[in-house]
């Protein structure tokens, strides 16, 4: 069956360090992969989208990689801050070819950045 796995354990890091979150998938061939941030009691907020033909994407302190051979995406936050503490979700498109490729979501990884 198709599956998306993210680090199930919460990630605790020290302020200023780089946080690295993992998203692994099996039995998919997604064309797009997205990362979202979710704070308690709120809806997910879009961060980055990366296409299958892109190896890496950056936005300010965020970097995403997409390795279609390993079936893995890594999400990095450099110079992390306590305000980065949240749950981070990855989402992949799946379905038939064409425009109705809906998103399938991982369970998310909880990140805590300690001051």
């Amino acid at each position: 069956s198709q599956k998306i796995e993210q680090n199930s354990e919460a990630l605790n890091i020290q302020e200023g360090k780089t946080a690295t979150l993992t998203c692994n998938y099996t039995n998919y061939s997604p064309a797009y992969l997205q990362w979202y941030r979710q704070d308690p009691g709120r809806g997910p907020v879009f961060l980055l989208l990366i296409r299958e033909n892109e190896k890496e994407k950056r936005k300010e302190r965020l970097k995403v990689t997409f390795d279609t051979t390993l079936k893995q995406s890594l999400f990095h936050i450099t110079a992390s801050q306590p305000a980065d503490s949240a749950t981070y979700l990855c989402a992949l498109d799946r379905g038939n070819a064409g425009n109705n490729r809906k998103l399938i979501w991982g369970l998310g990884t909880s990140l805590a950045v300690n001051p």
Partner: protein
């Protein structure tokens, strides 16, 4: 300006009741979604509408009926509520196609007693 809004934010009701959740977006998007996030935080798509047409209908009990009166609104009506319906329901919108970034509402926490 709120991009995607939902009402109500909290809904507490008895088993067997019928309830509705409303969603509106002012982003000019043509696609809207309903998601369910359960207690394990798993986010699962329920329905998607594009230009008022239903394009995704996951295996959701037919007690759940979405309605899109226009592109900016997508409502969810739930009949005969059950304990297992307790969850947070999120509305979202995006430009078509579906793999574009999605904008989520604040969620409606439904508790069925």
């Amino acid at each position: 300006d709120t991009a995607v809004s939902q009402t109500p934010k909290y809904l507490v009701t008895q088993m067997g009741n019928d309830k509705s959740i409303k969603c509106e977006q002012n982003l000019g998007h043509d696609t809207m979604y309903w998601y369910k996030q359960d207690s394990k935080k798993f986010l699962k798509i329920m329905f998607s509408y594009n230009n008022k047409e239903l394009i995704i209908n996951e295996t959701v009990p037919n007690r759940f009926s979405p309605k899109s009166p226009d592109k900016a609104h997508l409502n969810l009506h739930i009949n005969s509520l059950e304990l297992g319906d307790s969850a947070v329901y999120f509305c979202a919108s995006s430009q078509y196609p579906l793999f574009n970034e999605q904008f989520f509402g604040p969620g409606t926490r439904l508790t069925v007693l």
